[in-house]
Amino acid sequence: MKSRFALTLLSLWAVLTLNFLLPRWLPGDPLAALLDPDSSSYVYNAEVRGALEAYYGLDRPLGEQYAGYLTGALSGDLGRSIRLNQPVTDLLREHLPWTLLLTLSALIAASLLGVIAGSEAAWRRRSPVDRALVVVSVVASNAPVFFTGMILLILFGVELRWLPLAGGRTPFARYDNTLAQVRDYGAHLLLPALTLTLALVGSKFLLVRNSVIGVLGEDFMLVARAKGLPPRRLKRNHALRNAIVPFVHHLAAHAAFAITGALFIETLFQYPGMGRLIFESVVARDYPVIQGVFLVVSVLVLGANLLADWLTARLDPRTQEN
């Protein structure tokens, strides 16, 4: 756990440093181009250009730039958006909750579905239901999220008109009560979350199924059966309890994948999260925002990694000592 923490810090430093170095070192001098009147990406707004000059400080020595960047990043100054002329931190603060809402609800839904279906399929392995679920999972987890998203969008949004097509809430809506607000947010969340859940559930299902099958072959499961325990207890206290360890361990990797998926889905559904932000920033070559998103997503993923490791250690007594 200690080494894991050190690795997280090291990774965090790597993220910060990459974020600092990439715009400066990559060929083509993209930052200089922003300030070069002859360049196509010249920033005409003088106020914004001034802020950019101050933030990147390209005329100062590299060490000084680095120190300035680090202190700024750690105190929450991530520069200003070129496109919107707003502090990047404000933009992130505005978009992050939507992404978290989408990602977490899909992660939770996919985890529940994956664990339940996975362990049931393992108990009935080689049955028609199991075989069908495996095939569906492999296909579903291989389709790119923006493609499944489109199909769902066309099906439920366009053809059936059950759900709103885009956005995180009904524009300009005023809510009479909290329930109405929740319903509106929920209706907008449903399709993106369903898309992400579909993208996530396949691998979770397969992971749980395979771990449970692995556990079922263990001696201690034989002993547990020989003890005359009821099937419910066998499944929950022994099989699932053991299979959940690798599952939780993989949650971190899934979290990174989920956030990545969310970025695409938000673009597709025009959901007001960070994916939307990054998409619009890419179009406008709004480097400070892209850098900010990279930083925030990295911190989220690293945090998820750390959390998953901590949970794994809690769940598996074998990892506690070393």
Partner: protein, 588 residues
Amino acid sequence: MTAPLLAVENLRVTFALPDDPHTAIRAVDGVSFDLAAGQSLAIVGETGSGKTTLARALLGLHPAGAVAGNIRLDGRELTALDEQGWRPIRWRRIALAVQNAGTAFDPVQRAGDQIAEPLREHLGLSGSDAWARALDLAGEMGLGERHLRSYPHQLSGGEKQRLMLAMALSCAPDILIVDEPTSGQDMLTRAKMLALLDRVRQDTGISLLLISHDLAAVARLADRVAVLYAGKLAEVGPARDVLQRPRHPYTWGLLNAYPNMSTARDLRGVRGGLPDPAHPPAGCRFHPRCTQAVDECRRVDPPLQPVRDRLVACHLGGLQTLLRVDRIAKTFSLNGNGFRVEAVRDASLDVLEGEVVAVIGETGSGKTTLGRLVAGMLDPESGAIAFREQDVSDLSGAALKSVRRQVQLIPQDPFDTVSPRLTVAEIVREPLDVQRIGAPADRVAAVREALAAVGLPDGDSFLTRRPHELSGGQLQRVVIARALVLEPKLIVADEPVSMLDASEQAKLINLLKDIQNERGMGLLLISHDVALVRKVADRIVVMRDGAIVESGPASRVVTRPQHAYTRALLGAAPSFDWFEDPGPASGA
């Protein structure tokens, strides 16, 4: 007799191969046995013989439909039960200690909780009562609270094993199945485990079903032994008798392969390997590895039937008695003056299939005469010699010729018994020519094969050599090859190696034993060299002045001789006792 606690009848367990569902494997095929209350039965056999499958069947752990036959516990039929019906039987009546205690515990739960689990399930104890009971059980195994609170990975192998036993005994079952309690353990751990099981048995009066290939453990813990081969029982009987005098050739092979401290004999594996379970051989499943298999063995599966004190599944009633010598006598008259020497008096001995019986004694003790009588070169004056249960004196004509062919003598001095004018090929094929066996070309092939079997070149240049061109060891091998071409069932070897130096002796005696292991036959080894014969002999017969003064298992005769003459012979045998510091020179 009261009904047994557990009665298994014609039990069959059939699986489909996982990657080939159309091929069925019958891992246990028609096994029947009883287990009385308080009794201890061992099921022995090689890895893959079906022991563990059998044990799991007794707990209903196989998939539905895999098990057929009857399992009766207190007269109640268990095979018809479904998963739900089995649950009250499991652990409460029949508990299982699996082979590897290291994997018997769920790694993410405390050991104590796992011991308490069945107590809560079957006896309805509360959590704290179950824990208290688990603590008692652990206490009986010399372990305490700390061990119960530990996770499996925090416990040593020995601790896990004791806790597994505590777990198995938690609901005070009637029957404890112990699967390979000693496999993979060092000798000290093994000894502790055996002592523990022994104590448990005495303290609780539990019925023990011991699954093992550890024959010494079986001898210590079991009242009866059932030998399982490829899913079928080969031999069932009282533990001591079966292990001391096995009847089934497979039991005999297992014992020969089992390393133990009570013999100086070398280890011999059972030739061949277990059959493919998906395609077991027709007839007796052991016949491809059996050295005494006859035609019937290849066609008909032998039933398990009573043979004297036990049950044996063998058409021949178990290991054949190849030679039975019953109180034979032979006297020679010296110089025709009426003075007679009793060369052999009242001598009796048996040689079983695959057995090496050594006759030892000093020169003039009558052992050579005994050998020549057995080989048919002399006729006994009284008593009888039976070969494969047929009295040789009753035979004549072709039958006698066949017996002669099956008993071959390897003489002491090879130079004496080969004509110096014949070539190697002619020497070795002589018996075939004499008995008119095979076409001439076949005979040459047989000669080459026999020469190869004794480790000699079988090329033409060697075949045309003559005795004076060969060394003593080579010539003795030629003589052995000559004995082998007739595919004998009994070889009488009269001091076969005494003319050779120690290195050649060692090679030849091992060669003889190898040939026996592969081809199967009895070997009557006549020798004055106790040190040598104890490396190969199963039984030793000691002769003096024409009479047998002592006979018994080789290990017993060597370690605890009964007769003063035997002790004298042993005392005179070469030994390096005067070495103070053993070990070869370092060469530095």
